[in-house]
């Protein structure tokens, strides 16, 4: 973004949130379930 353009800091947001700091909190719901093994038997294989 060009420096002379008015930006989000001019509207009082001094420290905008970085995507990597926040997005993992809600993307975790898409996390694939891990493998479940019980007594050397794979109950749920890795996806």
């Amino acid at each position: 973004m060009p420096a002379d353009v008015l930006g989000i800091k001019d509207l009082g947001v001094e420290e905008p949130v970085n995507m990597e700091d926040r997005a993992d909190r809600y993307l975790i719901r898409f996390k694939k379930p891990s493998m479940f093994e019980d007594d050397k038997e794979i109950i749920r294989p890795p996806q």
Partner: protein, 345 residues
Amino acid sequence: MAHASAVLKPLSSLRSHGGRSSVSGATVTVFGGTGFLGRYVINRLGKMGCRVIVPFRGDEIMVRHLKPMGDLGVVNFFDMSIREPEQIEEAVAGSNIVINLLGKHFETSRWSFQDVHASFPAVLGTICAEQGVDRLVHVSALGASASAPSAWARSKAVGEENVRAAFPETTILRPAPVFGDEDRLLNRIAKLSRAFPLLPLVDGDALQQPVFCDDLAKAVVEAASNRDCAGKTYSLCGPKVYTNLQMAEYVFKVSCIDGPCRLASSRHATPRHATPRHATQRRMPRLLAAVRPGDRRRQQRRRLAASHRDGVRHRHFYPAQPLAHARYSEDADSGDDDACGCTRH
């Protein structure tokens, strides 16, 4: 002039944080309040004790989550259509701040980009000028340009011109792609990655600077409450620049999906908003079928299609899956049939 003096106090009191039970005296009409950004904007307005009017179309179930964002009677809903100027006038009447968050990502048979992005801002600006509204905030998009290849971006640029011509003191906000809990940016990548074996990534080298939804809502409220913002245009971006490929890889990393081998990037693909959504959807199954012909999901789709033949859903019986607890009952079955204790046996 009496109207102008009446709105001075409410606007200055917007800067206070009295809480949801406080009364700031300001009345704010938020068009597009039922959308992604709308809930964050209304939440912030509710915290300041503003009376909020939310024009909406559709079912009331789409707005019920907004009701607890303010005290009793603070968040009001108004069922209307933006095709009816009289209804727009009624929604704006009595408000000293109007925020336009309306936007569409795809056209439908009833609503074109021209209707929503270009024509409505012109009508809204005219009505706000007639009604003596003190502040009008119009949320456009960062890529808005009259020379853009995308019809979506061109219509956004026309909307900016129209609203500025009708209401010169409009504050125009041009946000970058927004991320947040309900976004269409990262959630779409994650959903596609789970549903399909590859991600058709359009122009992986394209740069984006996503902005957080609550930061954007804070900026919208600041633009609405600050008279110094009148007549200005702001470009709102996040702190860091990503390529489309980096964003997809980040989503893959968070959701533990195997890495770049699943990406199918195309530099010469059609721009995001230039193709009707249904055309992309039509091509998608063919593309996926060509990549993994024996995929389990493809078989599931066939089964589903077969079960819906003749337009009637036929009952389809799948082979019974072994139950997890059945493994633990093997020893019991050898001795006593009822030892499992399960009603299925």
